[in-house]
Symmetry: C2
Subunit: 452 residues, 2 copies
Amino acid sequence: MTAKRLVVIGGDAAGMSAASKVRREDPLREIVVIERSPHTSYSACGMPYLIAGLVDSTEQLVARTPEKFREKYNIDARVLHEVTELDLNGQRLRVSNLVNGSETWERYDQLLIATGAEAVLPLMQDSDSDGIFGLSTLASGIRIQQFIEQVLPRRAVVVGGGYIGLEMAEALVRRGLQVSLVEKGEQVMGTLDPDMGEMVSESLREIGVTLYLNESLTGYEAVNGLVTGVVTDQRTLPADLVIVGLGTRPNTSLAAAAGITLGEKGSIRVNPRMQSSASGVWAAGDCAESFHLVSRRPFYIALGTVANKQGTVAGINLAGGYATFPGVVGTAVSKICKYEVARTGLMEREIHDLGLLSSTATIKSKTRAGYYPGAGWITVKLLAEQGSGRLLGGQIVGLEGAAKRIDVLATAITAGMTAQQLADLDLSYAPPFSPVWDPVQTAARQLLNKIV
Amino acid sequence: MTAKRLVVIGGDAAGMSAASKVRREDPLREIVVIERSPHTSYSACGMPYLIAGLVDSTEQLVARTPEKFREKYNIDARVLHEVTELDLNGQRLRVSNLVNGSETWERYDQLLIATGAEAVLPLMQDSDSDGIFGLSTLASGIRIQQFIEQVLPRRAVVVGGGYIGLEMAEALVRRGLQVSLVEKGEQVMGTLDPDMGEMVSESLREIGVTLYLNESLTGYEAVNGLVTGVVTDQRTLPADLVIVGLGTRPNTSLAAAAGITLGEKGSIRVNPRMQSSASGVWAAGDCAESFHLVSRRPFYIALGTVANKQGTVAGINLAGGYATFPGVVGTAVSKICKYEVARTGLMEREIHDLGLLSSTATIKSKTRAGYYPGAGWITVKLLAEQGSGRLLGGQIVGLEGAAKRIDVLATAITAGMTAQQLADLDLSYAPPFSPVWDPVQTAARQLLNKIV
């Protein structure tokens, strides 16, 4: 076992979870990690808070440095090195040193592809201008931070109203910028149904973000290579800084070029043990496919939770153990302005597209007993299958203390519970934490009274 | 159906949940509620916060007044009336008007006993003195409030370190009293294992409560009928006010006298539809038995959540529908000084008493991402069955944002999940709400690495 040389491409959540797991199981294994950025094991999710000034330094977002991996874990973490070719037959990788340009071939016995995802940045008129940023790596976050400090932009336009776009819009308002947001959907937060997304839209307007909904990016304007405007299908918005939050795309060109089978949205298809179609080659994290436990279909999602779980599973298997990744239910949470926003399972559009029939209940309740100081509003939307009552999805928008309730719904959905079973659960109650019926149960009770 | 006359004994959570449910299903049914206190539908759990001054007025704790029940729901809610005899053969109740002393017999077709529970107040030397209070009804809370305002006690002794005792100890410190607490166990919060309870003990000492652990109440001292001291098996503590928090006992003397079968701790034995052993007589709430879904045994618990659920089930059945109450997993939560404290399932002693074998993991983590402002410590203890890995219980002590995570454990335990399934759950993550592995999953992962 210890003879096998493990090479990991990508030094963030999935790659380093796997490498650390293998190291714990096998103290003698040779482990090499190739990472093109200067950073390992960082919290990409923390970047909006760094830019907002809520987190003091980039270092706080780095869980473990390459030095720590080398010294403490005996993992050869080579940052600023990029894999440029994967030779499956020869079991080797072409690696380019990004500092001095030198190239080497690295042999592997086992390979884990954990190349993550990158921000989608559509090629358009002047899209290569300075001042236009995606946000996916720590390096991209640092570049935005530096741009703000050096160029002192006044007007920012965020393109895309997903959670990264919204967190960034709020962060930029905190930094004193004038912020507009362009979203092609009818509301922001397209992972919520529009009736729930509308509340989030409203909370952004309240802090001064100008929303342009039902409006699509068509290009940019620039002067001397520096962005000056965002062009949509309806207007041109002046901009000194543009954040493009149009989602992420798995970094799988290397795998694709080598002939490895891809799946949903170009992610690497894997079996539950995280093995790819190529012998000895595994994949995990934002570059790998997942499975949706409600739709029962392959699913692509780029989230740190999933990357850590897939990385751990891959690590156990690479070390000679046996583990499987069972899939996801699409849980996500975010803090947007005054609201905590959370979702799990399927939303109305997804349910419709699958040909399932659902009943819906949306209730407004409180996060604490109504008389307890700090009780805030919470709206819970619950979707269940008609006929069976099986829970299909849930969405929450509310004030402090609202969001983490989504985990009860995620657990109940995973267990295949019905609305009745959710209403019957022995959930906790005390006035500082909840009304006597937890809001998720109030929603379930409401659902039970629905006729279709 | 509408011919049946429903009489409910007890006008709080269970009784009024049932009465309201029957009214919704059957607008014409005659519904009479007999309640010996002046109040209906109040939050007994809110009383410590009223006494602490966090809630302004008693009225805030009353969800619906007798007048509202009469006027809006056409429910004949007779407060200050007490049932003194139950004649099962004659299908009638002897009712005493507590204001004028008059007595009547009330006929019923259906009877719901929802008489609740009362504070255990052991008869001892001088135990009938003024200044000694239990806390179970809103009326008892008001009496404590008035005593504090009129007698201006300086030194309070709380007897019993359960959640009511602890919440009251904290409330009295907030009111400026010097507070001691006597607890016969080795730590306060006997519904937690001692290692978890110890943290709670410490948090009470931090706010100035003097704890006397491993010490039992043996009597009181009084002068002119007013309490002056609490006598334990080790000392006498001077006291101007005594709160006795030695648990509650179901109010079932009426049912017992009529020959209705009792169960755990003297509560009324019911089937899952909440029917008692007597034809046409139902029971719900703090006077009724429950069922524990982990121990698989009858179980007695006096909690508002259970009372509301049992009342709803009884109401549906009384209205001619069909519903069952599936049981509880023993979930409870409380805010004690700086800590949020929660528990569900079985604790170590209960597991041992059942003859089950368990593995344990206790982890310390954070309530938010470590770098996010306001991240606080949280300790999670998880108990799982050896061999199967099935979750048996969980306990949480932590700072703000810790407690409601117990609901994920309660849901997972109800679903029969294993530690592995808990670790695999797709729970939510964003830096303001959680580390990337939620603390409950970190505990599950720790448990998976345990050998026995």
